[in-house]
Amino acid sequence: MQRVTLPAWILCCTLLMLVCAPGLRAEDEAAFKVDLRGDIKFFGSAFTEDNPDDEFEPHEAGDYNLTRGELHLKLDGYISENVSYKSLLYFTYGVRQVPGDIEKLQVDEGGTAEADEMETEIKEASFTLMDFGAPGLDLTVGRQRARWGTSDEYNVIDNLNPVDFGNLYTFDPDYFVAHLPMDGFNLEYRLPTDTTLRVQAVYFFSFKPSTLPASFQARSTALMQDRLEDLTEGYGFPAGTAAIVLDDPPDYSVGDGPVGLRVSGNLLNMDWGLSYYHGYVSLPVVHRIESDIGIDTGATLTSYLDYPKLDVVGFDLAGEVESVGIWAEVGCYWPEDYRVRQTTRFLATTETKYVRLFDRPYYKYTVGFDYTFGLGNGLYWNTQFNHGYYDEFRYTAEAKEELGLGGAGFMGDLENYLASRIEYSFFNDELTAILDGLLEMPELSDISGNSAVVIKPKLIYKPYDNTSLELAYVLITGDRSTKYGAFDRKDVVYTLLKVHF
């Protein structure tokens, strides 16, 4: 009897499990469904003209500017109806596989050579609790991007996540004004009585600086060197050295992370937002300069950089007038009262003076519009005027005079930009032709004598679903002292290939 009962029990349990499992699975099927997607991307850009005499990037026509492959993996899903998660992983590898170092060609103990560079980055890893504690209250925790502003491409109030300047001037469109992810809390509350009114509070755990363009240190040091030579010219001292040093960045502590608060809604069919940001300037600015002048040793000039605190009050608006899309943003920037200490030591004397760096407050703003003309499939036109780019500040007259700051260029004074783009699609969106233009105007009163122009014709071809091929030419011309004019004779042609899965 017992010999018959045990197998019967096993059989019954197995049958029971087989019968119940589909029901259990059906209930949780939607909850546990994971969405794994991604894309593989290749970006390559090459110079189109010779410029062997460029101080920082000498090149000839046909030399690669940048070649890069990327694999992006996105994993999203729901734990339950109200809990979702999101993650984004980037694998980036350089295409150049011939290192300039014999050591890297040698095989290590594991049997591989370090000829291939690859970086891995978690771009996003967050979970969201919806209706958390109250209907309409969402809490997102983890690595994320908190984007503010209603403007189309350039947002003056989007300061919570620092800008990725390291990629900005690679002309890779995926990195155009890309921002770096941050870790923290993002709380959003939608008022139950008004589905458009929202309050958002963001706190990121710690400060994160912007990445810098590839030649930042070389260019900054060169500028300092020029300044040193100007200072010591005619005195007969031996040639000195200049250096820049990152000095005392914000602490890795609770109080040093950026915070933001935003209220947004809709009034008279216009979306509006009012925001406040408290954090740090994401770019390193000069904090103190020390120069030592020795008759025998020559002069040394060391510039110490730091990140000043910053408050920004912003307002943004988007809507339409007579079916023309319009938007505007304005940010009132209030950096801390930041003074640069200049110390000069010569023989037995030491001279110290302070220079206020920023005007307080200063304003950045943008206004724009877009419209589709009823020509064929629709000719799309988008135009935007910006005053003050992400890397620009309003320096005091004293800072410009004493420290040589301001002017156009990276981390220069506030400038004006007019950006315009027209797009037209053919063959049911299989082929899109775009003409992008940018006019950089450091001074509105002197456009003809001091400006730069970027023209970018582009074709995007999508022969099949989930594939796209992009080909573009970036033509830059203008005054070499402007931000984009510095790229004169660095025109590139690029290709961007992508497959989604």
């Binding site: 899309g325 049911n428 969106d429």
Partner: protein, 255 residues
């Protein structure tokens, strides 16, 4: 005798009146009926497959999920989220009015307000424009007259109202007399040339007439788009929270 004759005359008159056909419906009245049939339910949620067919016969497919709330006295609300292909999965479109639309771009994780001029643009590369998916009522944008009747069908000639910004200045619609569903449409451009034609198959689901298949052909390009509803449910009491930017950003749960 005179009394009998009078009574006969009255009876004859009554018969004549009763035998006369009811006065024909005005084109605008028919168009209003069409709107009523299309917005009869309180709300709906469904899955749609859209197949693009080029003149060589090659096809591309998109699938999406659509939530819609119908209103009698104003524009319907709708949310549309793509579920395939991968490069547009989770791309979302929220429409609260003809001049209040939002687009969610998952690649940038941002919601963008789009102006009504975007109605002129093609919807996801198909032969339907964004205007074709508009939630506005026909009767708000067009004046209609009945050009003819063909058997059990009214043929309406719709002319765009001066205040409307619909992209088709003229539309001819075949409306079934029995149920006021639209079975066929011809859409004309600004030069009064035929631009697109559509064939619509309607079926009743939960008692509501539903355009289960729409076949739209751009006659200028010999390109066809076939939209099929693969699943639909009505009167689900959809919450207001679905028709918000917040919901638009949520990942769609594929079915």
């Amino acid at each position: 005798m005179r009394t009998v004759l009078s009574v006969c005359a009255v009876v004859a008159l009554l018969c004549l009146v009763m035998a006369s056909p009811a006065p024909a419906m005005d084109g605008n009245e028919i168009l209003k009926k069409v709107d009523e049939v299309q917005s009869a339910s309180k709300d709906s949620v469904g899955n749609v497959t859209m197949t693009l067919v080029d003149k060589g016969g090659q096809t591309k497919e998109r699938t999406m999920k659509v939530w819609r709330r119908h209103y009698k006295d104003r524009d319907d609300w709708s949310v549309l989220k793509f579920t395939a292909p991968a490069d547009i999965r989770n791309l979302g479109f929220l429409s609260l009015a003809d001049d209040k639309m939002y687009l969610y771009l998952p690649a940038f994780d941002r919601v963008r307000r789009i102006a009504s001029h975007a109605r002129k643009e093609s919807f996801a590369g198909s032969d339907l424009s964004n205007d074709d998916l508009s939630t506005g009522k026909y009767s708000s944008h067009y004046d209609a007259r009945t050009s003819k009747e063909e058997g059990g069908v009214y043929v309406l000639d719709l002319k765009r109202k001066p205040s409307s910004e619909r992209i088709y200045p003229r539309v001819i619609a075949w409306v079934n007399k029995k149920d006021f569903t639209v079975s066929r449409m011809e859409l004309y451009d600004d030069g009064n040339k035929l631009w697109k034609s559509s064939e619509i198959k309607n079926e009743q689901v939960q008692g509501y007439w539903t355009p289960m298949e729409i076949r739209m052909t751009d006659v200028t390009k010999s390109h066809t788009t076939i939209m099929k509803i693969t699943k639909i449910e009505y009167d689900k009491n959809l919450e207001d929270s679905i028709f918000t930017e917040r919901y638009l950003k949520r990942s769609v749960k594929g079915d």
